[in-house]
């Protein structure tokens, strides 16, 4: 073989070796956790995700009410939280600007919310000049966060992000978010817990780990035009009279605007003792008697006064905005739009049905920290500090209340109560939240929504074809079907 040939072969071999080398180096440097399961360090099982002292949780045993010598008291707004020494030092350093760190904060929000977030973030940066928050509003929040955690790209992934608590199970199971109790002592958690509404704090727990802190809540209620419905209807029959007066399809006026889906009809399910999924007992109750009775009542006492040709959100909201109905059952997210069209908006609780209280689902907005920050202590502490500040600082929380968010911090709820005339709608929704059932956190809930939605849609179709009696008649069959499907999916 000629000289040229052997030289080219040599170059080829070198190129291949270099490529293999690059790939090899990439894989060796990529996932440090994959190297951890070596049996050489048996004494540190906490090591994969618990850099903090393992003996810490047992420390409070001696005298839990007195602060430990290693704990300092951090004050955010009106809250006093005991925190570890090194975290406290970190806070002082970012306050003076001695440490500089950048964290990414992601949300998946609508435009009006984004401007509120920016205002709050600006306040935080004023207080802690050492921390820079890179705020991004993204589409497909969950997919993007999960993908970022999988690739381990620290710079371009969210460090802190927020959404309703029903994602907790899913995110925790995939290892995308960190458990706070692995980095902070139990005293800190106990102090944090005392700051929020009990059910809001609990909504951040999954398998006994605390994964996030709550900052707002939402639940549906009866949103009415106060010029038409001046006082809260005391019972369902009161409200039914109003609906009867308004219902006149030939004039295109309706008794109530109501988006038909599993989330929105839930108050009627709970009023009759029904449920979809029980997190505690891991049971599905889609075909329980309570659910059946609730939906039957819904068809004969709500759907009867509705525009049922299109039960989607846009159309139903349009009916309310055009003044063709006095009330709509909806949540705080629609309030900005409604206020632009209706001058005098009021929020009433959904009236009790023969003494039975309808309880809607509630979603608690949680802030989570992704697991990409665990490698960098400054980033981790900055993320924790930002999350605590965001959920505890009374001044910034008041900005959020002014924007229409329903608070969950106790001091702000008190403030809301004492300024009742200033925040009529927010207070109305706050009452709805206190009377609600948090959405289940289990990842199994993913299997519940769509079969129940199918059943509801089939009820609506039947209602439109053959009227309320036929619709009520097929409900048991449809619910049994949905139940069977859900159970099959959960079993896998």
């Amino acid at each position: 073989m000629s000289k040229g040939v052997s030289r080219n072969v040599l170059i080829g071999i070198i190129l291949v070796l270099v490529a293999v080398g690059v790939i090899g180096v990439y894989y060796l440097t990529l996932p440090p956790p994959s190297q951890t399961p070596q049996p050489s360090q048996p004494s540190q099982p906490s090591q994969p995700s618990q850099p903090s002292q393992p003996s810490q949780p047992s420390q409070p045993s001696t005298n839990a009410t007195q602060p430990q010598p290693t704990l300092q008291t951090l004050t955010i707004g009106s809250s006093k939280i005991r925190v570890p020494n090194d975290f406290y030092d970190f806070i002082n350093k970012v306050k003076s600007g001695e440490i500089k760190v950048t964290i990414n904060f992601w949300t998946g929000m609508s435009d009006w919310e984004v401007s509120v977030m920016k205002e709050v973030i600006a306040r935080f940066q004023q207080e802690y000049p050492g921390i820079t928050i890179k705020y991004t509003n993204v589409q497909n929040l969950k997919e993007q966060v999960k993908a970022g955690v999988l690739t381990g790209d620290v710079e371009n992934t969210a460090h802190v992000f927020t959404w309703a608590h029903d994602w907790t199970g899913d995110l925790a199971d995939s290892g995308a978010i960190i458990a706070w109790d692995q980095y902070l002592p139990a005293e800190t958690l106990a102090d944090l817990k005392a700051q929020y509404m009990a059910s809001a704090y609990t909504s951040g727990l999954y398998k006994l780990h605390l994964y996030g802190l709550p900052w707002a809540a939402e639940a549906i209620a009866l949103v009415c035009n106060k010029d038409v419905v001046q006082t809260a209807p005391q019972s369902w029959s009161d409200f039914e009279k109003i609906m009867q007066q308004w219902y006149n399809p030939s004039k295109n006026t309706y008794g109530v605007a109501y988006q038909v889906d599993p989330y929105h009809v839930y108050p009627f399910v709970t009023a009759f003792g029904g449920f979809y999924y029980d997190d505690d007992k891991n049971t599905v109750g889609v075909n329980s008697t309570g659910t059946l009775n609730g939906l039957s009542f819904y068809v004969t006492h709500v759907m009867k006064y509705m525009y049922t040709s299109d039960v989607g959100m846009e159309t139903q909201l349009k009916i309310l905005l055009e003044g063709r109905t006095p009330c709509m059952v909806t949540g705080p997210w629609n309030i900005p739009t409604i206020k632009q069209n209706i001058k005098n908006v009021v929020v009433y609780p959904i009236p009790p049905i023969d003494g039975k209280v309808p309880k809607p689902f509630s979603g608690i907005k949680q802030m989570w920290i992704t697991s990409v920050v665990t490698g960098d202590k400054n980033r981790l502490y900055a993320s924790i500090l930002f999350t605590m500040w965001f959920t505890l600082n009374d001044n910034s929380l008041k900005i959020l209340v002014d924007a229409g968010y329903i608070p969950v911090k106790l001091s702000i709820l008190q403030y809301l109560q004492s300024n009742a005339d200033k925040y009529p709608t927010t207070l109305g929704f706050a009452q709805a939240v206190s009377n609600s059932i948090p959405m289940p956190k289990s990842a199994n809930m993913n299997y519940v929504w769509s079969p129940v939605a199918d059943a509801l849609n089939a009820i609506v179709t039947k209602y439109n074809e053959q009227g309320p009696d036929a619709a009520v008649k097929i409900i048991p069959q449809l619910l049994n079907d949905a139940q069977a499907k859900i159970l099959a999916k959960i079993k896998g």
Binding site: P42, S55, L150, D173, S174, Q182, A190, S199, D310, N446
Partner: protein, 491 residues
């Protein structure tokens, strides 16, 4: 640049390198993703097990060292077990005091301050207990009757007991008799339940103390189960069985085929006739109109189909209102065949520009001489159309039809945007079992909904594999029926 004998324009080693490179590229960009998506169709992939590697890695590393760790730290762990036990004793006594206050107080001596003190005490103790139980230093969570029961206690106390107290008392400073009566009714059973659960936990803790080995075995078992729960499994043909276990997917295939049968003739008929009309020199300004007719092609589908939906929305859209006024009730949300008709109309509107363009190109390629000589020979307009123009444009139209039939077979945007494949009804198709389903859910939309509504990626991939098979059959059928037959020499 010839260097010696045997040197050609492309030396063998260059070709060899290129082949290796392209093979590598092919493997990486083509075969790997294809193989992966086929593999997914045989797994139970869903939203929480498809990207759970970080958590699995974490659990695996714990699993690897847990039994030796538990062996080595017996003393320390038992100390913490004892600690949990004392905390739970305290919680029980606080809860009992709370129970007593609620039962025995009058509005006069009811102390809200004492209640909130009790609440703080209970909450802090429960937080400490939770921290110890769920911690990676004890792994007590995995012992049967501890983790689950503790979760129950937390829920009952936080959402139940404190929730009730907040609801009834709110931020009131004065308590009434009714408030107390309500608390007695709702809260006392919950306190009893919580006390009961706490007792169960304490029993389990006693078991840990008496039989430490059982802790080790239940922790390893618990970790294994946890890893198994969030891992993706190979399930063989389960997904395909599930697809054909009820009427939904078979009916979806049937509906799609029906849609091809109805929409293709409509699209082709409209497209071809428009092409013939607008290639006639008799029509004034036909170029401008031709350009205008191509607009549906240029608009983004998302925009145009959404517009069509608003246009046809029952009782709201202008088209539906107009039809209503002349006595036709079109309801695309509630009636199966109304919606199906709407799909056909919108699909026709989207696709005719394509057919029209292809046909026009074919018409303009007909030699003028041929038509003129026919005219001289005395052929009528109909005869010229039938004998000359139609045969000469048949093949391009045929190929356009094949392509547009492929598009109908993959109908997705139109049903998704018009009414998401609705309405939803009870459905029984052929011998398949009865189910509740959207009745106009075309095949591709079916797969999309399984992935994005139900988050069952495995099932969705299996559905798409079936769709690919159907498309493959379709392509093979056309190849043998049309291409082989019409191509000269059958190539």
């Amino acid at each position: 640049m010839a260097r010696g004998k045997g040197t050609t324009l492309y030396p063998w080693h260059v070709a060899f390198l290129l082949i290796m490179l392209s093979l590598a590229m092919y493997l990486f960009f083509s075969l790997w993703p294809i193989a992966y998506s086929i593999y997914i169709a045989f797994t139970d992939a869903n939203n929480f097990n498809i990207a759970s590697e970080p958590r699995i890695r974490e659990l695996m590393s714990q699993r690897a060292m847990v039994s030796s760790y538990l062996q080595a730290n017996k003393e320390n762990i038992l100390k913490q077990v004892y600690q949990v036990d004392t905390y739970l004793d305290e919680v029980s006594s606080y809860l009992r005091e709370l129970r007593k206050i609620i039962l025995q107080s009058t509005p006069q001596n009811f102390s809200i301050a004492r209640i909130s003190e009790l609440r703080n005490n209970v909450d802090s103790r429960l937080t400490y207990v939770t921290s110890i139980i769920s911690s990676n230093t004890t792994y007590l969570y995995y012992f049967p009757g501890i983790g689950g029961e503790m979760t129950r206690v937390i829920t009952i106390v936080d959402e139940g007991i404190w929730g009730d107290i907040d609801r009834t008392l709110g931020f009131k400073l004065v308590v009434t008799q009714e408030d107390l009566a309500q608390l007695r009714n709702t809260t006392i059973p919950k306190i009893d339940k919580a006390l009961d659960s706490i007792q169960k936990i304490q029993l389990s803790l006693k078991q840990v103390e008496s039989n430490y080995q059982s802790l080790i075995s239940s922790v390893t078992r618990g970790l294994d189960e946890e890893i198994d729960r969030i891992s993706m499994h190979f399930v063989g043909l389960n997904n395909f069985e599930q697809l054909f276990s009820d009427s939904r997917f078979p009916y979806s295939i049937f509906k799609t085929l029906l849609f091809v049968l109805t929409s293709v003739p409509i699209k082709v008929a409209v497209g071809v006739s428009l092409a013939y009309i607008f290639s006639s020199p008799l029509i004034y300004g036909r170029r401008v109109m031709r350009a205008a007719l191509l607009v549906p092609w240029a608009l983004p589908v998302l925009l145009s189909v959404t517009t069509w939906r608003m246009f046809m929305a029952p009782n709201m859209g202008p088209l539906a209102l107009y039809l209503n006024s002349i006595g036709i009730d079109l309801n695309i949300y509630n009636r199966e065949w109304d919606a199906f008709l709407a799909y056909n109309i919108v699909e026709m509107w989207l696709a005719y520009p394509f057919i029209m363009t292809v046909t026009m190109a074919a018409i303009s390629s007909i030699p003028k001489e041929l038509l003129e000589s026919a005219l001289v020979d005395g052929a009528s307009a109909w005869e010229r159309f039938k004998q000359i123009m139609l045969p000469l444009t048949a093949r391009p139209i045929l190929f356009a039809s094949i392509l547009t039939a492929g598009a109908s077979l993959q109908a997705f945007m139109v049903p998704l945007l018009l009414n998401n494949g609705g309405p939803t009804k009870e459905l029984q198709f052929l011998w398949f079992s009865r189910t509740t389903s959207a009745v106009n859910e075309m095949m591709v939309l079916f797969g999309y909904n399984r992935a994005y509504l139900d988050q069952q990626y495995g099932l969705s991939a299996a559905a798409y594999l079936v769709v690919v098979l159907i498309l493959l059959l379709y392509a093979i059928a056309w190849y043998f029926l049309i291409y082989k037959r019409t191509a000269p020499g059958g190539v």
